[in-house]
Subunit: 363 residues, 2 copies
């Protein structure tokens, strides 16, 4: 069983292929950009599992195939690691047609994509996401970049992949913590766009955590459909696309505040969604039952819902550099009504209340 979802931003159009055995199917690789040279970008965890297999598939299509293996984890999503990709490409005779293949999770995809955006001012790339989070969110839509000590994903580019190949079999080897982190982004699509999907997730959560292939296939497909629709309407985040950042304003502050890599991105987003839902309730947009329902589902998914005690001042400081902030005013993705999100500012005093209500005790 294999399905496809099309992303069409006007300026570019590509397919997301989803299923078991998608990589093994030769047709999945047909029609990719031609070049003398292909480079696989992976990390120390994923490369031993899949890089040899992917290299063999690419050798049938590219004269030279090289693999660059990055250190694993959000803590390495910086210029130093990006430079490893550039060094490797230049040492191995890459040129401005070279195609990059991002083999790994969200960090690998973001960095390989940004490297592709910048190398010789732009080369094509293909996403081969191996985590649930990357398959349902980060590999789709062309957001690429690296972190800055002051803020997450501060340096980057919009650079759409030529294709996304979601091999569902890779989810079988995914650590449970990573699976839960991916479920956070799956759950996200409910409150912002499709409460029927949220009902389905609640019903199928045990199957998802047990990695039932049919349940995972539906979760990935429906997530990609929603994301493709939003990105197609607003590639560069002039407006609508910001709703995909539900939970991310608080979440990015958690990631930067505790130090990149301590919390997984999906974990920080889970906690951030509870905080953003709490804010929505305090703004009178949703009722308490909605907040409790979201919190309970995230807990069932194995995700944290109590924020680290950084102090409200530090949260506000970190959120003021969020990319959605304008002229010093933080803007939050709030739930206007279940299934519909919007971007809006909130008074600092109210945000402080949210943080205090949702933070754990200082250790």
């Amino acid at each position: 069983m294999r399905t496809s979802v099309t992303v069409d931003t006007g300026a570019s159009r590509y397919e997301i292929l989803i299923g078991r055995g998608v990589w093994a199917d030769a047709a999945s690789w047909d029609g990719l950009p031609r070049a003398a040279h292909a480079a696989i970008v992976s990390n120390t965890t994923v490369a031993p599992l899949y890089a040899g297999r992917v290299a063999a598939l690419l050798q049938a299509r590219y004269r030279e195939v090289c693999t660059v293996v990055l250190p694993d984890g959000e803590a390495h999503k910086d210029w130093r690691t990006l430079d490893l990709i550039f060094d490797h490409l230049l040492a191995h005779g890459a040129d401005r047609q070279t195609v990059l293949f991002a083999l790994g999770g969200g960090v690998v995809g973001d960095m390989a994509g940004f490297a592709a955006a910048c190398f010789m001012r732009g080369v094509p790339f293909v996403q081969l996401p191996t985590t649930l989070l990357a398959q349902v969110d980060s590999s789709v839509g062309g957001k690429t970049g690296i972190n800055h000590p002051r803020g997450k994903n501060m340096i980057g580019a919009f650079h759409q992949p030529s294709r996304v190949l979601c091999e569902l079999d890779t989810l079988a080897t995914l650590p449970a913590r990573e699976l839960s982190a991916g479920l956070a982004e799956v759950i996200k699509y409910g409150p912002i766009a499709d409460m029927g999907f949220l009902d389905w997730i609640e019903d199928q959560l045990d199957a998802l955590r047990e990695r039932d292939p049919a349940a995972l296939a539906h979760a990935v497909r429906r997530s990609c459909e929603i994301k493709a629709q939003v990105v197609g309407a607003d590639e560069k985040e002039a407006g609508l696309r910001a709703i995909l950042n539900f939970g991310h304003t608080f979440g990015h502050a958690i990631e930067a505040g505790v130090g990149y890599g301590r919390w997984l991105h999906g974990e920080a987003v889970a906690c951030g969604m509870v905080m953003a839902a709490e804010l929505s309730a305090r703004l009178g947009l949703v009722d308490r039952g909605f907040v409790a329902r979201l919190e309970s589902l995230l807990q069932r998914a194995g995700l944290p819902t109590v924020a680290p005690p950084l102090g409200a001042g530090r949260y506000l400081e970190l959120m003021r550099v969020d990319k959605k902030a304008l002229g010093g005013e933080i803007r939050f993705v709030v739930i206007e009504s279940p299934g519909r999100a919007a971007l809006r500012p909130a008074p600092d005093a109210l945000v402080r209340e949210v943080i205090e209500a949702r933070c754990g005790a200082v250790a």
Copy 2:
């Protein structure tokens, strides 16, 4: 007297305003992107001369104006210096509407432009070029980037400025060596596009070196016209745009080979143009008189025409990573006939002959 040239790439359209007093004219700044915040990016040489004046002009239009001062020179066109811009922007409350103003020569423009391309995945920027080279070439057309130890401008983006304001009065304080470097790029437009312009340069060279305002105004305007026409036809260098790189394949090898900053970019391009003309002659495309004429004019402009003795092997190694190379084959911009250029490969043996004929003795 003030003239304007329009650049229209289809995806973006902007004006180059050229003249004395262009900055002082309030109308020059009308219609730029609105934001709460503007950031001037300059260097230790240019900032003391002009940053205060530009900041005063911007303060009338932006609530907050900050200035980041970079170390001067090609040797600093790297990630470390770029990061100074990001640090400064984040420390000063920049957001995704912040407008960057590149105040300086080609290095400042390339780095401020690349920073604008990457900061929060893209903010607008304005070019305020203060060198002849930047006014006639690098500030126009949206090529931005930084160097890599293995090759010049290897990491970058196409990111068009919102406007280019060529204040000709800044050329009065330009060191003679920098003026000559700029003349190399002015002279370049003759062989590749307009032999009538080459005749004019030959006639007006003394006036140009004496900084005659009318001569400089014509040189900048005609250069920008040619560049705008080429960039408008081929923004991303799918083909035609490569002709603007006449002399640059050899020139970039010189810059990287002797160490960035030892030769000015324009000096390396001057020498590279003689080598590329020599190659064109050896390919039977132009006669010896054409090569001698170009060499003589560059010498009159105060530019070097004898290449540094890096050894042919090192030249070839450096040129193999040139962005125009494909599948390991170096491609050169050659003069097909005076006023017309084209991109083509050449046998290594012939290129070695050119290098040996045009290199100085090993010291």
